[in-house]
Amino acid sequence: MTTRSTGEPAGSPDPAIEAGVYVLGLMEADEARRFEEAMARDASTRAGVAFWRDRLMELDISAPPVEVGDKVWSQILASLDRPAAASFVDLADRRGSAPPRRGTMAAFWQGAMAASLVALMAAGLAYTYVKPAPPRLVVVLLDSGAQPVSIVEAVDSRTIRIVPLGDLSIPAGKSLQVWTLPTKELGPISMGLLPGPGTSVLTGPALPEPKPEQLYEITVEPEGGSPTGRPTGPILGKGFAKVPQI
């Protein structure tokens, strides 16, 4: 077998190998989207995907079982009773790879859009009293059951306002810490600790201008904040920034 030290990818990609790269999860979002378009058109591309999925799955099914917390099943059941859960799942999907193609997805999208609209309107009402300028970005943080926990509003590159929508009371001996992920390279950055259960304004370090789809989350940390400078505790809520259509 030859080994080229430069190791550039092959010039003309072999569709069977590209199917493997796709199944490994190594394609960039736009590359994956193009591949999925090819999948929709072409039976041999689908067969390539099926080949790798069914072969590599052996590595999944031989994984030694790990116990799952009891609450997970009850949370799944609770989500089935709550149609809003669709918007949570699809927010995550949309960031992953392909745009939904199937007709059945349309209803989810309409639901998701309606949910954000309601959240934005709620945000608008709350802000009439507390802030003069429109926010650049608004994030609705959802908990793991897809319930809104709070709204985070990016005022400028280092100032955010947090409006609780659910219970944001601070557990005894703990702190609630707000994080954002400006870029993958920077990693998660602390915007600060919530001072109390009401609306608060936090000023974080100087960061790049916040962008649409930027991740924000609140975690439960030891009192005084994460000892490592990175999120360590359970996630209370998370969401991705949207540009308000004001």
């Binding site: 077998m1 080229r4 689908r46 999925r53 099914i61 079982p65 993958k184």
Partner: protein
């Protein structure tokens, strides 16, 4: 008796919650294990398990047997959910300062992943026949959920090399498995 994943999905598509519960009992612990290998945190892995079963329920009707088995479809959803978590940056702190620790813990996990395959497994025989760097690159991507850039950093080679290793590893595997 062998669990019938296809039948369970068909029942889920018709709104049978009992079928989803049986599927959960059958696969949740393995999905937890797969998720944990990628996200490295119990709380995040449980979130992946939860989101996986919600999506299985919602999309059971759109399962397409032309893209692989029912069981493979479920694990694909789980891996994608776990990869979404990782790409959110929740595991970010493992990449830069703790490269060494990540590498060590990964090598164990990769070794274990191959070692847990049955001795008679064709996949195992083929993986063992692939040149180590190329095999590791493929396993790191599939089992650990690492990106090209992360594989390159952990194996201390340029990204182009990591990309080429993945593709050559896949090519060798395909020839062996076909």
């Amino acid at each position: 008796m062998e669990f019938d994943h296809g039948a369970a999905l068909a029942a889920c598509a018709k709104g049978d919650r009992e079928a989803l519960r049986r599927l959960y009992e059958e696969e949740s612990r393995r999905i937890m294990s797969v998720a944990l290998r990628i996200v490295r945190r119990r709380d995040l892995a449980e979130e992946v398990v939860q989101e996986t079963f919600i999506q299985v329920w919602q999309k059971a009707a759109s399962f397409d047997a032309g893209l692989g088995s029912a069981r493979g479809w479920i694990f694909t959803i789980a891996r994608n959910k776990a990869l979404n978590v990782v790409r959110d940056g929740a595991r970010e702190d493992l990449v830069e300062p703790d490269v060494l620790a990540a590498h060590e813990s990964f090598e164990g996990a990769a070794h274990d992943a191959v070692a847990t395959l049955a001795m008679s497994s064709r996949l195992r025989q083929c993986l063992e026949a692939v040149e180590p760097n190329k095999r590791d690159s493929v396993i790191m991507a599939y089992v650990g959920g690492f990106s090209h850039g992360e594989i390159a950093a952990l194996l201390r080679v340029p990204v182009g090399t990591a990309k080429a290793w993945v593709r050559r590893g896949l090519a060798a595997l395909k020839d062996c498995l076909a």
